[in-house]
């Protein structure tokens, strides 16, 4: 009879493709947390998050801000004495929590990533204004004013394009993406 994997096993499985060592070899030394430039802003340090995964605290892990606040600086990855690709684990947790629609809905990160992905499918290139809705209203009235000021400064210096840039072979590009994930309405 099939045995349902534990949460800890599921997360370890996410790391198989990245050629890092399995999460199980973590010895809780905390070098990842000590190396992390964002640790002060996370609700759980990277070391603690790994301990929580080992304890199968699925709900607590998925609602944690830790992996959404990871900036992908890879300090933890290059320093881990057990060879665990911790930054890759954070990516894995982001994907897992988005697949399961199980993330803290007040976070900007998931919405931002989703908008980004859709934008690239449309045009093949990044265009900053298309991403703005995911964050400009998050900081209240004052935050909105600051964001507007920043955008104006960029425009004054010609550093934001007024229209999105688009690749030439967009049809071939979408056909290509359609072979990886089915895209509704893509010919």
């Amino acid at each position: 009879m099939a045995v349902r994997p534990t949460f800890s096993q599921e997360i370890s499985n996410l790391l198989y493709a990245s050629h890092g060592h399995p999460l199980a070899v973590c010895m809780q030394c905390g070098l990842c947390s000590a190396s992390c430039p964002v640790v002060d802003h996370m609700d759980n340090s990277p070391r603690r998050l790994i301990a929580m995964i080992h304890a199968d605290l699925k709900d607590d892990v998925l609602k944690s801000t830790t992996f959404w606040y990871c900036a992908s600086c890879y300090h933890c990855t290059v320093r881990c004495p057990r060879g665990i690709n911790i930054a890759e684990m954070m990516y894995g947790l982001k994907r897992y929590s988005m697949w399961r629609n199980r993330y803290d809905k007040s976070l900007i990160g998931p919405d931002f990533s989703e908008r980004f992905a859709k934008m690239i499918i449309k045009t093949g290139r990044s265009w900053e204004p298309a991403l703005a809705p995911s964050f400009i209203f998050k900081g209240g009235v004052q935050g909105f004013l600051y964001e507007t000021q920043t955008a104006l400064k960029l425009m004054q210096r010609g550093r934001i394009p007024m229209t999105p840039s688009k690749i030439k072979r967009i049809k071939g590009f979408r056909r290509m993406l359609g072979r990886i994930i089915p895209l509704a309405g893509v010919k």
Binding site: C73, Y74, G109, F112, R169
Partner: protein, 304 residues
């Protein structure tokens, strides 16, 4: 003459246009020919890897396949693009199943990944392919008395690469060596390998601003006149957001942040305008004075 398939990336189209033009100008002086990949697409940044790994790898693979068609190694000036393309290239070379899957997708756009090329960052091409001795021959206006904080950031050097361009990953020196070659004085400060916050500037501004603040303050404390970067996102975070840092923390920071190619161009005697200087938010006047040989003005500004 060395020739590469040039991948500017989305940021260099507008937000970091000065990095684009200064890269082209300095490459020309050094005899490095950059042939832009004709219909390049976004590398996926970090966001695509949050959504789907294979999709993100496919985005990179399309660019790699087009560079292969040109028969040239790929070079990117953005650290994020470089990191994505480098590791996509390695994964695809080492995983036949992945390459088969991605090639099935690429075939829909008449492309094929074969693993024939390498991926480089522009600073690596300058320092290691061209070489510091050759660069030195072109320095007409050494940036004497200019104190520069070399900012490596993250994805230029991490994660570790098998054919390591970095040397010691905890203590790289190539950026300092390049600055010395320009005649500038690299300053030593503890945050040079620390993260600028990356896309957290959007998704967690409070965290990112405190990271930017720490970087700027330590560079200033070390007596730097300017911070040199090799990544558009680092440049944007450190420079554009100084106003917000000052507002948030009550600091009074005013630190120019320039691309290493702009400084190199000045040392080569290329006019500032052709290096995209003039579109920054923190004026680079002291740096320009220094490049003109009016070096006392620059040195006197902050360090005394």
């Amino acid at each position: 003459m060395k020739k590469f398939a040039y991948y500017p990336g989305c940021s260099l189209e507008k937000m970091a246009a000065s990095y684009h033009v200064s890269t082209l100008e300095t490459a020309r002086v050094l005899g490095v020919e950059l042939e832009e990949i004709e219909d390049w697409n976004c590398c996926g940044a970090t966001a695509y890897f949050h959504v789907d790994e294979i999709l993100a790898t496919t985005l990179c693979a399309r660019n790699l396949a087009m560079a292969e068609k040109q028969g040239l190694d790929l070079v990117a000036p953005c650290s994020g693009c470089f990191k994505n393309m480098y590791f996509a290239n390695e994964s695809l070379k080492n995983d036949k199943d992945l390459a088969d899957h991605v090639n099935y997708a690429l075939d829909a756009d008449d492309l094929k990944f074969t693993g024939a090329i390498n991926v480089n960052h522009i600073i690596d091409v300058f320092v290691h392919e061209v070489g510091l001795d050759e660069i030195k021959k072109h320095v007409k206006r050494p940036l004497k008395n200019l104190k520069v904080a070399p900012y490596y950031g993250c994805q230029l050097i991490r994660p570790r690469k098998p054919d390591d361009i970095v040397g010691d990953i905890e203590d790289p020196r190539f950026f300092e060596d390049l600055l010395t070659t320009m005649g500038a004085t690299p300053v030593s400060y503890p945050m040079r390998l620390r993260c600028c916050g990356g896309s957290l500037i959007i998704t967690n501004k409070k965290a990112a601003l405190s990271m930017v603040r720490a970087l700027l303050e330590t560079a200033e404390g070390a007596g730097a006149d300017v911070i040199a970067t090799a990544c558009p996102l680092c440049q944007i975070n450190l420079e554009l957001y100084q106003t917000e840092v000052n507002r948030e923390f009550g600091t009074n920071l005013s630190m120019p942040v320039m691309y290493f190619t702009q400084l190199l161009g000045l040392a080569f005697g290329i006019p500032a305008k052709r290096l995209g200087i003039g579109t920054e938010f923190v004026p680079a006047d002291d740096v320009l004075k220094c490049a003109r040989g009016d070096s006392q003005a620059a040195a006197g500004g902050k360090s005394e």
